[in-house]
Structures are given as structure tokens and as C-alpha cells.
Amino acid sequence: MSRPLTATQIWAAPLALGLLSIVGLVAALMADGIGDIVSWIALGVPAAAALWFACTPGGRNGSIG
């Protein structure tokens, strides 16, 4: 059995994606133009990360590096 992960190891990525999502949801509300672009990028990262890990056959498959 491998060692348990620390809370930091478990939550770092979800927390980062969550904060990016908040930035993405708010930016386009606050400003047009640059705000829209920030939204697309910040909200695009969580969507892209979800799809990347879900669709990459060669991605993480359970072995802890």
C-alpha cells in the first residue's frame, strides 16, 4: 500500500481550480473586454483540466509517482 496523501496534496489542485472558477465567473460581470477574456481563460482551465484527465488514456491511472 502506498502512503496516504496529506491534506495539501489532496486539496491543492481542487482549490486552485475552484479559485480560478470564481475569478472566471466574476471577471466578465465586472468588466467588458479584458474581463471577458479573463473569464474565458479562468473558467476554461477547470473545464480543460477535467476533460484532460478524463480523456487521456496515458494519464494518471492509479500509480502514485
Partner: protein, 394 residues
């Protein structure tokens, strides 16, 4: 987290998810085309593009537009003049059987530059109307809307419990792990956790703002019976009435003059529930990205065309107004709508994988789930949990 509290959260997640599952799948599937309803309306010919005209800055008199609309529907009443700052070439006129009827009877589109009648938006027709009603009220009116709101609230609790379970589940799995080589159940459990946690904030915000949107009628009803009623009551009994027909253009000009840096969102006509028997109420929106989401009601005497009062909306109405763009995803151009669609499809996979896991292992106990999340190399670590499987299926 103790084993016991993990088990409680597991049961909360299972049951809140099962309660709202069917309706959330319906909402996600019908919500997908609704993200693009504006584009679809144009493609189907329900809406029109403004005719190409040289930009002279000319604006047609709103009174003649209102008169034209009223003449097209004798016996009916103009309820609202509606503008769209994103499409300043248009005025929209909403009519009803009476001025305060809750349902619209017609919705006309006019050229704001020439005053020409352009189009009648077909109300209550077509496949998009079916999609909308399924998403909005299940064809059951306000009770249907409130029921969907309750389902959305259960969904929000399901999301929170899912996040709580993420830590114990991921105790030995790095972020993004999908154990493909293992049983389909393990693979879909991993996918459920990955897609759910990566999109949690979006799911939470769209879910919660959807719940708030279901309260639109009660929220505006409360505003009408408190603040609007106060504004009207402070104007006395209206002894200064003249016999002249009210001037819509005059009221609009007065509202614009009183509220610089704003444009009309919509104006309720005298007798409508959003106005008074003797006043127009113009709901003005700001001209920046942020202020354009908010509305300021302006009370205008229908006969003198003078602004007699204006106030900010209370916090609960502002919360509703901000919930609309955050739910619809219509505030950041087409790329944001496409992201909304992608995230919505991911949400369908989160729901679908959760449903699959439940069907596959309807009798899966908490202990078996714990086994699945703790197994690293083999699926059968807790013999007790596995040996219970055949018995629990009967």
C-alpha cells in the same frame, strides 16, 4: 474525519443525489440549448436582425410605436416597452389581454430608428418553448417553478456532501487519477470524483443562482407590495389628473434625464403591477458591464411626464438580478456560452456517472464504497464487504 461522519456524509450524498437526480438531468439537458436560445431564435426566424441603415442617429417617436402596437391588437393593452442596450436598433412592445395580465398576448419588435414594425415574436410555440417550459416550470406554473427550485436546493446539498467525501476518497489517489485498467465501477467512480470536483464551483454557482431565479415572482411580488407601494402612496391621490393620453416618449425622456449614464431596460405602463394606475415605472440599467446587470426603478407621473421618485432596488432584488447572468452564462460573449455548454455537458457526465454507480451497485454499502476508495492494487481487500454482495442483491 472519523469513519462514522464519513458514513453520514456518504448517506447524505446518496440520498440528496437520488432525490434530485431525474430533475437535474432534465435541467442540464434542457439547459444546454437554452444557453444558445438567442442564437437559435435568430436561426429559426423567431427573431430578426435589424435592417442595414445609414447611421444618422435618428430615433423614432416611441408614442407612434406604442400606438401602432395597440392598433394591431384591438381590445388588448400595452404592458411594457422593452429595450435591449445590446441591440439599440430595437424597441420591443409587450401586450396583454389587460394591462396587468400576467401572461403576454403579443410581443412585437420595432425598428427604434424608423419606428417600422419588424416582426412578431411567436409566443408559446415551437420546440424551444417546450424546452424552456420543461426547464422553467414543467408546464405547471409557479408551483412547478418552485418545485424545480426545491430540487435545485437539494442538488446544492448533494454537491456539498460530494465535496466532503472527496478527501476520504482521494486519500491515496493523486488529483486526476482515473483507474482505467480496473472494473468499470472503479473507473466511473474516479471519473465522477474528478469531473465533480474540477467543476464544483461552477456547478454550485449555477445551481444556487438557478434556485434564486425560481424565486423571481415572489421576490418581485414582495418588492411591489412594499417599496413600490410606498413610492406610490407617497404621491398622494392623484387629483392633478388631466384627460390627456399619457406620453410614453415624455416619460422615457424624463427618466433618461433624471438618471444619467443609464438606458431603459423596460418600462411598465400605468395599471400594470410593476407601475401604478397613474404612473409609469421605468427600470433603468447602467451602461457599464457591472451596472448594466442592475436596475433602478423610476416612478414617472403619466400625465405630467415628471419623475416623482426613484430608488435603488433592495438587496434581495439585486441578488436576483445578479443571479440571472450567473445562471444563464450570457454575460461574456459567445466563448463564455460555449464554456457554459462544455461545463453543462460535464455536469451531465457527473450526474450520469453517479446514477450508473447507484444502478450498478444499488445495494453497495458504505463499507464497500470505502473498500473501493482504499484499494490500490486489488479490488477485494475487505472480504466481508465483497462476500455480502450476492446476498444483498436478492
Amino acid at each position: 474525519m472519523t469513519l462514522k461522519s464519513t458514513k453520514v456524509w456518504y448517506l447524505i450524498h446518496k440520498w440528496t443525489s437520488l432525490v434530485c437526480m431525474a430533475f437535474l438531468l432534465l435541467l442540464c439537458i434542457t439547459g444546454l440549448p437554452l444557453i444558445f436560445h438567442h442564437e437559435i431564435d435568430h436561426a429559426l426566424g423567431y427573431s430578426v436582425d435589424p435592417p442595414e441603415l445609414p447611421d444618422t442617429g435618428a430615433r423614432a417617436d416611441v408614442d407612434s410605436i406604442v400606438a401602432d402596437a395597440a392598433a394591431r391588437r384591438p381590445g388588448e393593452a400595452v404592458q411594457f416597452l422593452v429595450g435591449d442596450p445590446d441591440e439599440p436598433e430595437f424597441w420591443f412592445i409587450r401586450l396583454g389581454e389587460t394591462v396587468d395580465a400576467p401572461e403576454a398576448s403579443a410581443f412585437f419588435i420595432y425598428d427604434a430608428r424608423t419606428g417600422a414594425f419588424l416582426h412578431e415574436y411567436p409566443l408559446g410555440q415551437g420546440v424551444m418553448n417546450v424546452v424552456f417550459r420543461l426547464h422553467y416550470d414543467l408546464f405547471a406554473g409557479l408551483p412547478g417553478t418552485l418545485f424545480l427550485g426545491a430540487m435545485g436546493l437539494v442538488f446544492v446539498f448533494s454537491l456539498i456532501s460530494g465535496v466532503v467525501l472527496y478527501a476520504p476518497y482521494m486519500g491515496k489517489l493523486r488529483f486526476g487519477t482515473v483507474r482505467r485498467a480496473r472494473s468499470p465501477r472503479i473507473k466511473w467512480l474516479d471519473l465522477h470524483n474528478l469531473l465533480g470536483i474540477a467543476t464544483f464551483v461552477w456547478l454550485f454557482v449555477v445551481g444556487l443562482t438557478g434556485v434564486i431565479n425560481t424565486l423571481a415572482i415572489p421576490i418581485f411580488g414582495h418588492w411591489q407590495s412594499t417599496q413600490l407601494a410606498e413610492m406610490i402612496a407617497s404621491q398622494g391621490d392623484g387629483s392633478s389628473q388631466s384627460a390627456e393620453a399619457p406620453s410614453v416618449q415624455g416619460a422615457l425622456d424624463a427618466a433618461r434625464a433624471a438618471m444619467p449614464e443609464t438606458e431603459l431596460s423596460f418600462m411598465a405602463f400605468p395599471g400594470n403591477g410593476f407601475a401604478s394606475p397613474r404612473h409609469f415605472v421605468a427600470f433603468m440599467q447602467g451602461t457599464t458591464a457591472w451596472t448594466s446587470k442592475l436596475l433602478k426603478p423610476v416612478l414617472i407621473d403619466a400625465h405630467t411626464a415628471e419623475v416623482v421618485d426613484h430608488r435603488d432596488l433592495p438587496w434581495y432584488a439585486t441578488a436576483l438580478l445578479l443571479s440571472q447572468p450567473l445562471h444563464f452564462g450570457d454575460y461574456g460573449g459567445l466563448p463564455l456560452k460555449i464554456l457554459w455548454a462544455v461545463l453543462d455537458i460535464i455536469a451531465i457526465f457527473v450526474l450520469g456517472s453517479g446514477l450508473y454507480l447507484w444502478i450498478k451497485r444499488r445495494n453497495m454499502s458504505f463499507e464497500m464504497w470505502l473498500t473501493a476508495m482504499q484499494t490500490e492494487r486489488s479490488e477485494t481487500v475487505v472480504p466481508g464487504a465483497v462476500s455480502r454482495q450476492p446476498a444483498s442483491r436478492s
